[in-house]
Symmetry: C2
Subunit: 274 residues, 2 copies
Amino acid sequence: MRTLSAADLSLNTATVSKQWDLAQCIEGCACHGIGGISPWRDKLQACGVDRAAKLIRDAGLRVSGLCRGGWYTAEGALTQAVIDDNRRAVDEAAAIGAECLVMVVGGLPEGSKDIVAAREIVTEGLASTLDHARAAGVRVAIEPLHPMYAADRACVNMTAQALDICDRLGDGIGVALDVYHIWWDPDIAAQIRRAGKDRIHAFHVCDWMNPTQDMLLDRGMMGEGVIDIPSFRRMVEAEGFDGLVEVEIFSSRNWWTRPGDEVLAAMVAALPAI
Amino acid sequence: MRTLSAADLSLNTATVSKQWDLAQCIEGCACHGIGGISPWRDKLQACGVDRAAKLIRDAGLRVSGLCRGGWYTAEGALTQAVIDDNRRAVDEAAAIGAECLVMVVGGLPEGSKDIVAAREIVTEGLASTLDHARAAGVRVAIEPLHPMYAADRACVNMTAQALDICDRLGDGIGVALDVYHIWWDPDIAAQIRRAGKDRIHAFHVCDWMNPTQDMLLDRGMMGEGVIDIPSFRRMVEAEGFDGLVEVEIFSSRNWWTRPGDEVLAAMVAALPAI
């Protein structure tokens, strides 16, 4: 396994979502020696895409991803509005030089109980985005989300399932693996081998608090919880993954209440737990 | 699919856990024409096993299960205390004529991040219980729990994983399938076929609320949420399952606040949603 330093980390802007805008995130990364950033689209758009691209470039940061495209089921069927929004996401990812566009694919359509149909909408939507992404030179990364989000956020919940979709759709699409979502998967080792270097487009870390007090907003800093994070890093690196390790923490009760600089310092201090 | 009536339902006592003791549950089932009961061990022990057995027999109820054995990881390793408690659970299940002993296998041991090791403890524990259960004529049913409980309740989270354990351990052990835990599983249809009639020892229903406000205690009455429950009943019945449909609802904000009779009436009224 690599010896990690701060330069190998990427700050997902959700980690300081309540404290900083994108310009502050970029400055914070530079200040703490963090090597990359992964903006959420709301922060990117608030900053302005061209200005953000320049700020990121000037700071010498890599962009481990753009969060997020997807949400294909938002309107019950794959509408032109949803397709267009994903095209814009691809264009934004290209503009900032993002190494991938992370896809949170969407849950059950309003009023629906048909998760199989939802998954078909998602696959169709990804195929549509992928055409544009290939042309734009942007890699698409399906993020399998924890099954507790199957209804409201993403109906793709297993790495195997995400890779099945990749198999169907061909080149240019892979997975974003977040330990929070996959740590419990009894088949994860085999699926990481199956993904291989070419399809592991991102590696996200945080920790699973035990007990967890909120299904969305109670994620921990690496080392605070029960995930054996190094075991997952070892697996992706065994496949050749050498990208940035992206830190994405939603924490309304703790990390979002602290100064941004304290959070970034804690990220760097948590390197031994990754 | 069968046409269900109240006589095909079983009341898991957790559904009225705050309202009724076991004797009241038994009386409630008889009063509402519900065909069976599935006691939790705390209520069973409070009633007294012999008295409970007589009350259940006198009321003409079937016993779709006893909840719950397992929790093999509770002491960090498989201790004699844990083994003995599971032997007692088997004996209690036999005493009340339970059609299976439902196993919630336990999560990560205190302080551990090694879910693979936890799963080995569980398998070893189940093997130990199974020896006694076979001798006592009690079927053991592994309940795969939703992955959001992997840390704190059960490290067996997929039906495939539970069946892998059954394959290793041989006769007398199968699964308890609860739609709440399995509804999101992209491989569930194949796994239900793999389980087959002989290994589907119980079928539990409730509903997944969207949004869900509490990870443990916000389950819905059938029809209130987003699970296509009939699709699952169709699958288990296609394999020949003809047991009781057990209703198990943990609901601190709603169903636990209502009179027990109202809850049982709602269960019967929800038959079309099953």
